[in-house]
């Protein structure tokens, strides 16, 4: 190959230096902020030790954005925020304004363009989510659709700060749980073992690697119809789908094999209590695209019980810790089943070894 045909060698920049892309007031006061308050939902006001101030307006987005949407955000950033903006980890857009006067017209501009302003303080912020049918190779549902449907229903809770504390929700399209932990998590739960195409396994899958991938050792090598393949002990199988990525002929998805489950009480922050994982409170909900109404119904039941009964600054999981799980299931009219008693490693730590009881 001569040099003219050589592809370009990449410049190995790594993580770009953010300072050229940072709002000048943020840059000038880097590491020198004194305090903040929230003048209204969706607006943060930060005061620097230098005396400079900045007003941040936060708006929800659809995360999967077409270039038209991004250019619209850019127009608003040019007009009201000196040509800079940033995103939060939950895909909210943030615009930094150097005077409080700019926030009103900016909010108006955002609302006119269809972006809700909120997601600050004790509100329900944007649901962090995964790729789904749009792009993932193992998706049980379409997180973008679930999120759009839920955020439509929770619009008021995004634009108002009326919850006892912040609510951070997540969705995941399979049990690998890429969406992470949340106060409320909506995750796919497979309900059927993989269907195996024995004609393809030997050619497509590295069988020992697939056997090793199974969390419950339910997969073993087998000869099927004279061909080396794999078989699944369906009594042991927990339908997690972990074998599908290394072995696509073990199809875990299908119209009858995906249900949605709801988990509550996950928390990332160390504030008050230590971080916690979310816990299973409902399962077997239909994967009812395009609007998933059964999911929205239960999420709202949980959310409004918490809104009604939670004390100021209690996160959802802390609220349940106070009132007890018996009352949680009573207040939300959800079932407590044998499947909610953990049997994974370390499960004993989740059992009640005391006479502390809620009646």
């Amino acid at each position: 190959m001569n040099n003219a045909e050589m592809p370009r060698r990449p410049d190995e920049h790594g993580v770009p230096d953010p300072f050229p892309y940072m709002h000048p007031t943020l840059k000038a006061n880097y590491g020198n902020w004194a305090w903040h308050d929230r003048p209204r939902p969706g607006v943060l006001h930060h005061m620097s030790h230098s005396g400079e101030e900045i007003w941040t307006v936060r708006a929800g987005t659809q995360r999967q954005m077409d270039v038209g949407t991004i250019r619209k955000l850019c127009e608003l950033a040019d007009k009201f925020a000196d040509g800079f903006m940033r995103f939060t980890t939950r895909s909210n857009a943030e615009f930094m304004c150097t005077s409080a006067d700019k926030t009103g017209p900016l909010i108006e501009g955002l609302n006119d363009a269809g972006f809700p302003v909120g997601g600050t303080g004790n509100s329900v912020s944007m649901i962090s989510h995964t790729q789904g049918w749009l792009h993932c190779d193992i998706p049980g549902t379409d997180a973008s659709g679930v999120v759009k449907s839920l955020m439509d229903e929770l619009h008021h809770e995004f634009t108002h700060e009326e919850m006892p504390n912040r609510v951070r929700m997540t969705t995941s399209c399979c049990q690998i749980n890429c969406g992470g932990q949340g106060d409320i998590a909506i995750n796919v739960q497979y309900v059927k073992p993989p269907r195996i195409n024995h004609d393809l396994v030997a050619n497509v899958c590295e069988r020992p690697a697939v056997v090793a991938r199974c969390p419950v050792a339910a997969i073993r090598p087998a000869m099927v119809n004279g061909k080396p393949s794999l078989e699944v002990d369906e009594k042991k199988c927990i339908c997690c789908g972990a074998c599908y990525p290394p072995c696509p002929p073990m199809q875990i998805n299908g119209p009858d094999s995906t249900r949605l489950a709801i988990w509550v009480g996950g928390k990332h922050s160390n504030a008050r209590s230590k971080p916690t994982f979310h816990k299973l409170v409902a399962a077997n909900l239909p994967n009812n695209a395009p609007r998933w109404p059964e999911v929205a119904d239960i999420v709202k039941r949980i959310l409004y019980a918490y809104k009604e009964d939670g004390q100021a600054w209690e996160r959802l999981g802390e609220w349940i810790e106070r009132i007890g799980w018996s009352r949680f299931f009573e207040m939300t009219d959800l079932a407590f089943t044998k499947h909610q008693i953990d049997d994974w490693r370390g499960a004993r730590k989740s059992l009640n070894a005391s006479a502390h009881l809620h009646f």
Binding site: E12, V15, P20, M22, Q62, L134, N270
Partner: protein, 416 residues
Amino acid sequence: MTKKAHDTPLLDELKSGPWPSFVEGLERLANDGDTPHARMMTDLLGQLEHSYEERRGFWKGGTVSVFGYGGGVIPRFSEVAEDYPESSEFHTLRIIPPAGLHYSTKLLRDMCDIWEEHGSGLIALHGQSGDIMFQGCTSDNVQPAFDALNKIGLDMGGAGPALRTSMNCVGHARCEQSCYDEVRTHRMIINGLLDEMHRPALPYKFKFKFSGCPNDCVNAIHRADMAVIGTWRDDMQVDQEKVKEHVAKAGRKQMIDTVIAMCPTRALSLNDDDTLDIDNKSCVRCMHCINVMPKALSPGKDRGVTILMGGKRSLKIGDQMGTVIHPFLKLETDEDYEKLFEFTEECIDFFAENALEHERIGETIDRIGLANFLDALDVPVDPNMVNHPRTSSYVRTDDWDVEAAKWFEHKQATTK
């Protein structure tokens, strides 16, 4: 000729309602005249509608990369390409954003122009690890798209068994609670280990995340193999006049209910004159009281970071949180930064040499025991690493005195 649109009655239902609709965005791209991205998005909408009907995805992986790098492109080939040929290749480029997710509108517009020319025009801001996800690119266009992005200063992120793209909270840039320079730390570590990202050779993925304080806004403890969390060692800073103002405004009952009673270690008490009595030795730096009264309270001045390791999602042994490996590392001088970087290098080396294939570092630590991991990395044990000492009596203690001597020696060395 403009490509004819597929009927999408299910997706159309996601166009109504007050939240911004991703379907409307996909349609805007599909309707963008006779352009390659419009044709691609027309068929993409068709395939997505098909997924909504059949309730399953139709993408499979493969191998696509750019010259010089071994990862960062997520290949997607359609399993139903005969019906939706224009979106038969719909790869994603994972690109590293500026640390802290700051953008100028110029950078965003340049990204849009490049992606309109070479890709689908659909950009996800951002993925769960922190990448900009340029979604929807043909195999042929991956290299020119990357070249164009690389020329404006952007670089490929991580995928596969490799160091992954990282994230830091807004931190120093706009938060008074930030306890260290997240941008410097994030860039020092990731850019120092970049080879592990671009040429995947680790047993499995390795993620870092950087949060400026224990509020952990980037979910580091849950998500990262190594979480770097800002904290402080001395007394928190208190402005008693501001405390009094808060009590006057909120009322004593609310102050007691939401601040005093919620302190996890009972380290707070309200004095008769409405000032705050703080038992700093019992404070665990949870951030709660500071969150409630950001004008009156702030972190102390002797700041640094806590390192936790082993956080991960479900595969394979179940969700795990990171646990404390270094309770406190000062992060002020160049030497402090170098020491932290050396530690991360040692961790990556240990991971590369000792983890089994497809094993995360948290699983390795679980398998060999935390004490062995600490031994290997020459990290001294510390009671902050455990909730409480062991309760199981099944342990050999014949070298107890040697270990105890180490403890007292270490204690003497660090309290000098």
